[in-house]
């Protein structure tokens, strides 16, 4: 059975109407998302990710085209109805003095209450559930301004949950937080999508996006491309993201690597695979290109372990120097290039 898209973007032109030249506009955007889709919006700085998300969230006027939400042109949807369908969490971490986490999340119930309404028991349950889902129930009485950036981001997600919308848009939710929190946030968003929410978030964290999301909306300079991360990788779209840059997608590992300029070849041998891998990384970092072929190259590094102690030997055919750790090895090689 073919599911009807919950968001259907047709020939959308984003940007400011008074832009001087029409060629400065981003190409027309066509995309759609289903209920429960988990989508990462990816693009270089300045390509218009925020503008795009804000345009879908009706926070910014569009130039032309249309967005259909549950089949309805989104500009025809009544305000409070729209807020019950779609929530948008901005990139800026929320700061509000003298406000507890639960007070903050409770404000998200505004579309259900209107101007004069007070918080009902049902609202309290929704707020509680939202805080529980992001694992913030213990901190619900804490002041918002006393939270760490990761906790704050979770509070912002709880806000979107309390708003109880089918679609959640987030502008760079992982921008200000450390690596474990990043995974936690992305996993949380993924869980939400499994529960039926459509989650679209913009990010610069490609590694996480490629591993976790269903679909990537890739904003290249010549238009938006949608697809599974793996499809986009195989079709070479992901590499096009970094055209004319120092970064490329390594097809064998699925990681993004720096195009190292290596003028110097060096051979490396090691007793164990791990020692080989990490020594290789270190040598590449300081500008060597590493081979395991020790016959043809004069400059050699040998890593060996003796009585549980590692040591690295560098030889250039005539002399040999020994090191006890990679740090010393690199410091030597960096300034004693052959």
């Amino acid at each position: 059975m073919i599911q009807k898209p919950i968001i259907d973007i047709t020939d959308l032109r984003i940007g400011f109407d008074n832009s001087v030249k029409s060629e400065l506009f981003y190409p027309l955007i066509n995309a759609s998302a289903l209920k429960g889709d988990f989508i990462a919006l990816i693009g270089r700085n300045g390509v218009g990710k925020s503008t795009f998300l804000r345009s879908i969230a009706r926070l910014q006027p569009i130039v032309s085209g249309d967005v259909f939400i549950k089949g309805q042109p989104y500009r025809c949807i009544e305000r409070s109805e729209f807020s019950k369908t779609l929530s948008f969490i901005p990139a800026e971490p929320i700061h509000a003095a003298n406000m507890s986490v639960s007070e903050f999340v409770a404000i998200a119930r505004y579309p259900y209450k209107g101007w004069f309404g007070t918080i009902s028991n049902e609202d309290k349950d929704v707020v509680r559930f939202a805080l529980e889902s992001v694992n913030l129930l213990k901190l619900s009485k804490r002041e918002l301004d006393s939270l760490s950036d990761g906790e704050r981001q979770r509070a912002m997600i709880a806000f979107a949950l309390a708003q109880d919308s089918d679609i959640i848009l987030m502008d760079e939710p992982t921008a200000f937080i450390d690596l474990p929190s990043k995974y936690e946030i992305v996993k949380l968003l993924k869980d939400l999508s499994l529960k039926g929410k459509t989650v679209i978030f913009s990010t610069h964290d490609l590694h996480t996006a490629i591993r976790e999301v269903d679909t990537i909306w890739l904003m290249l300079d010549d238009g938006l491309t949608c697809g599974a991360p793996e499809d986009l990788a195989l079709n070479n779209f992901l590499n096009r993201l970094f055209e004319n840059t120092e970064v490329y997608l390594d097809f064998s590992t699925g990681t993004f690597l720096h195009k190292a300029v290596s003028n110097f070849k060096i051979s490396l041998t090691a007793d164990s695979d791990y020692h080989y891998i990490w020594t290789k990384r270190a040598l590449e970092r300081i500008g060597y290109s590493v081979t395991s072929d020790e016959n043809s190259i004069k400059d050699q590094v040998k890593c060996s372990s003796k009585d549980n102690f590692l040591n690295w030997k560098v030889s250039n055919g005539s002399s040999t120097v020994e090191f006890k750790n990679i740090n010393q090895l690199c410091k030597y090689l960096k300034f004693h290039l052959p």
């Binding site: 926070l59 509000a96 404000i107 009485k141 806000f159």
Partner: protein
């Protein structure tokens, strides 16, 4: 279970704070009526409250015709300034905003300057009554309000509106300076005295008019409590929740102009109360819920201006100090404390 227990605890704490604040209000209102160059015995006040005839005719005259209107003016002005300051701090998301950021006091000054200084420049006789000054101030502040409202309908960026308000204010002040430059000493003196503020010049029918405008403004503020809570999170959140940001801003500006405009018209520009009182209230109640902050600011604003008035009439002496100076000296330490405490300003 602990959840609801905590909630009840908070509720009872807030009720206690409100009772305490109201107690202070009653205390200082009575002190304000009794203290001054002539001390009025407490039993006269009791007689007055219970509708009995006050034996001493002089005391009766002072209490009913001078002290009572002045105390009412202090209550109205204090509440009005505190609430309009709170509204501006929330709308502009800036702890240093106050009732006058939109240029309302400068507009009022221009109106008064035109009447007091302008008319004398054309050698029109000095028939200036207190009422015509109030009317001129009201018209001046309303004109600035109209400009701000017109700007706020067309311009969406809140910072642009803030800068516009400051520019209108500066332009009005510039015209006032020109008028001051060309006026003679005696007229200049009466204008300067107006700028120092006075709670004692509101009499008779004026107090009713002042009360009406203030009640309207405060009522609007109370009705705007919930939208203000939403807008407090910033425009992105407010619009995401379907709030009509433009409409709410328009109504808040209207309420603030009524409050600050009426106060400036009848009492002159009284600074710093409007910036300081909302911070004191936030420190005491530790909340950002405007359904609590607005009523609390109404009472706290009245208390603070009553205290200022008691100090300014120097109990037992024959002088009174300008209320504006006392208010500034009371408010400035609070503002300095807020600036130092706020990481954004102190750079800590």
């Amino acid at each position: 279970m602990t959840q609801t227990g905590l909630k009840d605890l908070e509720k009872s704490k807030i009720i206690t704070l409100f009772i305490g604040l109201f107690g202070l209000f009653v205390l200082f209102a009575i002190l304000d009526l009794l203290l001054g160059s002539v001390k009025i015995p407490f039993k006269h006040f009791v007689d007055f409250v219970f509708g009995n005839e006050i034996k001493d005719p002089v005391a009766r005259q002072i209490l009913v015709n001078f002290r009572l209107p002045k105390t009412i003016a202090a209550i109205l002005a204090g509440s009005a300034l505190a609430v309009s300051g709170l509204q501006m701090q929330t709308i502009f998301r800036n702890p240093l905003a106050g009732p006058y950021v939109l240029g309302i006091s400068s507009g009022a000054s221009l109106g008064v300057a035109l009447v007091v200084l302008g008319l004398s420049a054309f050698s029109i006789p000095m028939w200036i009554s207190q009422l015509s000054i109030a009317t001129a101030a009201l018209i001046g502040s309303m004109l600035v309000l109209l400009l701000i409202l017109a700007v706020s309908v067309r311009i969406k960026d809140i910072m642009t509106i803030l800068i516009m308000g400051m520019m209108f204010g500066s332009a009005a002040s510039a015209i006032v300076s020109i008028l001051q430059y060309f006026s003679n000493e005696s007229v200049l003196r009466s204008f300067v005295i107006w700028t120092m503020g006075s709670l004692g010049s509101v009499t008779g029918i004026q107090i009713w008019f002042f009360a009406l405008l203030t009640f309207l403004g405060l009522l609007m503020a109370l009705l705007l409590a919930r939208p203000l809570n939403v807008i407090f999170l910033g425009e992105n959140y407010a619009r995401n929740l379907g709030l009509r940001v433009g409409l709410v801003r328009f109504l808040v500006f209207l309420s603030t102009s009524l409050l600050a405009g009426a106060t400036t018209a009848f009492c002159g520009p009284i600074g710093f109360i409007g910036i300081a009182v909302p911070h004191v209230v936030k420190m005491i109640f530790k909340t950002s819920n405007h359904a609590i902050l607005i009523p609390a600011s109404i009472i706290a604003g009245a208390v603070v201006l009553l205290i200022c008035d008691i100090i300014s009439q120097l109990p037992g002496m024959n002088y009174t100090l300008p209320i504006n100076s006392i208010a500034a000296l009371m408010g400035i330490p609070v503002v300095i404390y807020v600036v130092i405490k706020n990481k954004r300003f102190s750079g800590m």
